[in-house]
């Protein structure tokens, strides 16, 4: 009876999940996992995020309840529309710096896992690169080119982004008596060796660059 639906896309499953389930209770989640076992991990993560989004009290940090668009909203939307229409020249597009590779990936339509797969990395490695936790000088050019190709951005924009220093972990630093910390950086190839999610084939492929880079 269970429709395994192996050919169905994740987006379709999640769209239907939101439309058909009032609240992502554990019972409803279990039913959907039985229907689509190939998306157990994604459904669980999604349901957890949904539950928390519905239930964690707001910080009250939003601005007024006025639904009118602010001037900042209008400028942001106008710029985005222009960019999406490719009205910016390639020079102008450099003035719109990348703020996160993951966000860029979402904007072009990829989940985190899909994005990582497209650039032939694991999600954990992609996140480390996104958060500048990898020493820039150890990153193979091939990685930068992959990101540029997938995100349809200039190689120099990706390189510029990856060369930024690690972020301060402002919101992560919940120990109030300690100042915000700079996150440590690691060698790209060490990160590849230690990564638990990377397939062996991809690990070998990336480690081959280590000898070429030397």
């Amino acid at each position: 009876m269970a429709n395994k639906g192996r050919g169905i896309k994740l987006d379709d499953v999640l769209d239907a999940f939101v439309a058909e389930v009032d609240l992502p209770l554990a019972t409803s989640l279990t039913e959907w996992i039985q229907k689509y076992p190939q998306y157990t991990k994604e459904l669980t993560e999604f349901a957890v995020a949904w539950s928390l989004m519905e239930f964690i009290p707001t910080y009250g940090s939003t601005d007024s309840d006025d639904e009118t668009l602010t001037q900042n909203d209008i400028v942001f939307i106008s710029d985005l529309l222009k960019k999406t229409r490719n009205e910016y020249s390639s020079v102008e597009s450099e003035r719109n710096p990348i703020t996160s590779l993951m966000i860029e990936g979402r904007i072009v339509g990829f989940s985190i896992d899909e994005f990582a797969d497209k650039v032939e990395l694991s999600a954990a490695l992609a996140r480390k690169l996104d958060r500048h936790l990898i020493q820039y000088i150890t990153i193979p050019l091939r990685v930068i080119e992959s990101f540029a190709h997938v995100l349809k951005r200039e190689v120099v924009s990706i390189a510029r982004y990856l060369s930024l220093p690690p972020n301060f972990v402002s919101s992560a630093s919940y120990k109030a008596d300690q100042p915000p910390s700079m996150l440590p950086q690691e060698n790209f190839f060490d990160a590849v060796r230690d990564d638990l999610e990377l397939t062996e084939e991809r690990r070998a492929r990336w480690l081959a660059f280590e000898h070429k880079e030397k």
């Binding site: 639906g5 379709d12 499953v13 769209d15 239907a16 999940f17 939101v18 439309a19 992502p24 209770l25 554990a26 019972t27 279990t30 996992i33 039985q34 157990t40 669980t44 999604f46 349901a47 957890v48 995020a49 539950s51 928390l52 989004m53 239930f55 964690i56 009290p57 707001t58 910080y59 009250g60 940090s61 939003t62 639904e67 009118t68 668009l69 909203d73 209008i74 939307i77 106008s78 985005l80 529309l81 229409r85 703020t99 993951m102 966000i103 979402r106 904007i107 339509g109 985190i112 996140r127 958060r131 936790l133 972990v169 402002s170 919101s171 992560a172 630093s173 919940y174 996150l183 440590p184």
Partner: protein, 276 residues
């Protein structure tokens, strides 16, 4: 719930049909009412169309639902009528703004505005992407489609925060004590001698209170909410059952410690609040 209304009539020949497939393999269809709104709007002068789009009362004749607005934005984008695209997009975002910001309200202030803008970005890019079917479901169940995207991004932001915390904790000084997963070592936190109440008789005033925001570790807070509010089990003999232990990648013992610690902290918070 059906993904579309039951509609035996053929689609209106004046407007482009959807091309995305449903889960059963059939093609997605807009509600007939939306098609009617679209056809009615396409014959209007641009200035009149923009004026009509500003109408927010859904009982007024000529009201354009969000699904219709999505179609119209795409159509005018297709033909290069940028002014109308700009106008209708701003109307649509204005209708969504408060709701999106409400959904994201539990994010830290630092992430909140970025997440809000990312939802808007993704929405607009999906609508204007004429090459794929990303904009189709927005024309059928706009609010569900928007909510799904918002949950995705919320998940991304909370994972990023937790990822940073995980990296930071690994980089802490050697000898830093961790209460988590140290094999069979006994619980050291005093409150973990309190058994987690498996009947979940947690006072309802605690759940949903600002006390939850006072919990320092978001993993502990999240586990507490998922366990008490959403019924996620700590562990299960059924390998297919989602559990807190699997989700957080921690032993059941650690999860129980988290829950007990959080409950005790919430009780202390409540006592402080009650005594002023």
């Amino acid at each position: 719930m059906e993904e579309t209304s039951i509609d035996e009539d053929p689609p209106d020949p004046l407007i482009h049909p959807l091309t995305r497939q449903k889960r059963d393999g059939s093609i997605l269809k807009r509600d007939r009412k939306i098609d009617t709104q679209i056809v009615g709007a396409l014959v209007l002068e641009p200035a009149v169309l923009c004026e009509r789009a500003l109408n927010t009362s859904n009982v007024t004749p000529g009201y354009l639902q969000e699904e219709a607005l999505v179609y119209l934005i795409r159509e005018f984008h297709r033909v290069g009528s940028n002014d109308i695209v700009d106008c209708l997009t701003k109307v649509l975002i204005e209708r969504c703004k408060i709701i999106i910001r409400g959904w994201l309200g539990s994010l830290d202030k630092a992430e909140f505005e970025d997440a809000y803008r990312d939802v808007i970005s993704q929405l607009i890019v999906s609508i204007l992407d004429l090459e794929s079917t990303r904009g189709d479901y927005l024309q059928v169940r706009f609010w569900y489609a928007l909510k799904r995207r918002t949950i995705d991004l919320y998940n991304h932001y909370t994972k990023a925060i937790n990822f940073d915390k995980a990296v930071l904790s690994l980089s802490e000084l050697p000898g830093e004590d961790s209460r988590e997963d140290v094999g069979e070592s006994p619980d050291t936190f005093p409150s973990t001698s309190v058994m987690v109440d498996t009947s979940r008789q947690i006072e309802r005033t605690i759940i949903g209170s600002d006390g939850l925001n006072a919990i320092a570790d978001p993993n502990h807070r999240d586990a507490f909410i998922l366990y008490h509010k959403y019924g996620l089990q700590i562990e299960s003999n059924d390998p297919k059952m989602p559990t807190l232990s699997k989700h957080f990648g921690k032993t059941p013992r650690t999860i129980r410690n988290w829950l007990a610690e959080t409950e005790e902290n919430l009780n202390k918070w409540r006592e402080r609040e009650n005594h002023g």
